[in-house]
């Protein structure tokens, strides 16, 4: 029931939201940011840092159809935007929310490279233009054994990739997150990870209908701390595979280097499919804490998307290719 009510509240909060963005553009940025920061410290505010929505975005967001739903109860907007792993903005869960304004998403461009017929550098606007938006409710399972249920807005990754006409030699797609050496983000000054953050998928994984490119959340522009302006969502894999704030897409023939795998290959595999039977060497993956729930619940194979994706791994030893 509550799910149906939500749709209504989207619309109102959405308009509120755009109004607030306009207000900010009127030059009240500093006052508002200060107010938001102090209110944020008191835990009172649900304000977020995101770019203003373009008219094109607003039109598509209003037309977005719910294509995939889940029986799970949605996590609320505050939890989704104030509890994040986004090391570029700091290693603690609350850092990305606090440091969100350090990420500049306008202007933004994405460089498409490698084994394809139509490589090039696209502005965000050009990249988004041909794609209608849809809303999908996905479970997100973090490798740290917590999970959320999130209403993303965006389009299938396959639709985007096909535009560049990948060649038959392209067996994998590699992605990179923003990294400007001259102007690193707050978390990129430390060397917890070798920047830029890198991720990758096998071509058939990337083309799977579930694999999603998200540009919004709860019907709104994706907040910076959630990986604005565009991020991957691969719901049957641990969250770190869903790379945020993408600036580069490259078609390659060999399995690409991925950040967590580079850091600790024994602990984080290239595939990193959610699998309750394969524990992280240091903790169990059999159960997870759904944010908002007290007790842990059992983790599902492929995060509950077994029907859709098990075929991708037929014949593979998932203990070995974890």
């Amino acid at each position: 029931m509550s799910r149906f009510c939500l749709k209504e509240s989207f619309v109102t909060s959405e308009t509120d939201y755009y109004r607030r963005r306009d207000f900010m553009r009127l030059g009240a940025v500093n006052a508002l940011a200060l107010g938001a920061a102090s209110a944020g410290m008191l835990g009172l505010s649900s304000s977020v840092t995101a770019s203003p929505a373009s008219p094109d975005f607003i039109r598509k967001a209003k037309a977005a159809k719910k294509t995939i739903v889940a029986d799970d109860k949605l996590n609320d907007f505050d939890d989704i935007t104030q509890y994040n792993n986004f090391y570029e903005l700091g290693t603690s869960k609350t850092d990305p929310y606090k440091n969100a304004s350090a990420l500049i998403t306008d202007p933004w461009s994405v460089s498409v490279e490698g084994l394809c017929a139509k490589p090039g550098k696209l502005t965000l606007e050009d990249l988004l233009k041909p794609h209608d938006f849809e809303e999908r409710i996905y479970r997100l399972r973090c490798v740290e054994a917590w999970s959320m249920v999130i209403p993303w807005m965006g389009f299938p990754l396959a639709d985007l990739l096909k535009r560049f006409e990948p060649s038959t030699d392209a067996k994998y797609v590699a992605f990179e997150t923003l990294y400007d050496k001259g102007r690193p983000l707050p978390g990129q000054r430390g060397r917890s990870i070798r920047w830029p953050y890198r991720e990758g998928l096998r071509m058939d994984e990337a083309m799977n209908p579930l694999t999603f490119m998200a540009v919004g959340l709860y019907g709104k522009v994706l907040p910076n701390q959630n990986g604005a302006p565009l991020r991957l969502v691969v719901p049957w894999k641990y969250g770190f595979k869903s790379i945020k704030s993408i600036v580069k897409i490259k078609f390659v023939s060999e399995q690409p280097e991925t950040s967590w795998n580079q850091l600790q290959s024994r602990e984080y595999g290239f595939y990193s499919n959610v699998n309750p039977a394969v524990n992280h060497p240091r903790w169990s993956q059999a159960r997870e804490r759904r944010i908002g729930e007290l007790r842990k619940r059992r983790t599902l194979m492929f995060n509950g998307y077994e029907k859709e994706v098990a075929g991708l791994y037929k014949g593979m030893d998932l203990q070995r290719y974890f």
Partner: protein, 203 residues
Amino acid sequence: MKNVKLIGHALGLLPLLYMLFLGVTGLGANPIERLTHETGQWGLILLLASLAITPLVKLPTSVNFKPIKQLKLKKVMLWRKYFGLYAFCYIVMHFLIYLTLDLSLDFEFLIDDIKDRPYITVGFLALLLLVPLAVTSAQTLRRKMGRHWIRLHKLVYFINALALLHFFWLIRADYSEFWWYLIAFSLFMLFRFVEKARRLVRV
């Protein structure tokens, strides 16, 4: 004397107040994780603080400077016990949160975790070793046990090392905090080695 005691208790209770404050103002999206981290962190800090007392008292008093001598810093030595006991309390909370909310009181899970997860193994060992120290912390027992008491309580060094190892093994990428704890521990231990070496030379 009274003031020294009072301040010691106040310091030991500060983390509890802080956690209560967090409880009122909001523990964030994952309150259980937050509480596990706060209790673990304050437990570790107090364990280290307990090791800090001896050098902090002995170094200034070894300087021949009257105003410092008059401070009667020796009484602060009492804080070793206070901090140790408060650390024990926070670590018991830490363990109970894990046992009830992470494991839902399933003792089979507990055995599995102790067997399979090195960071739990050493954390659990540290907790177990803290029990006899807490139990024998009373002054009367200390007198009764004499040299045995001292030998038993040398375990704190080992327990501190285990606690650091526990922390080290659960970090995923960001070791920056850990290095500070390790430096503190190393300095406190260095002081003890130097003292011991000096005593040996003098004999």
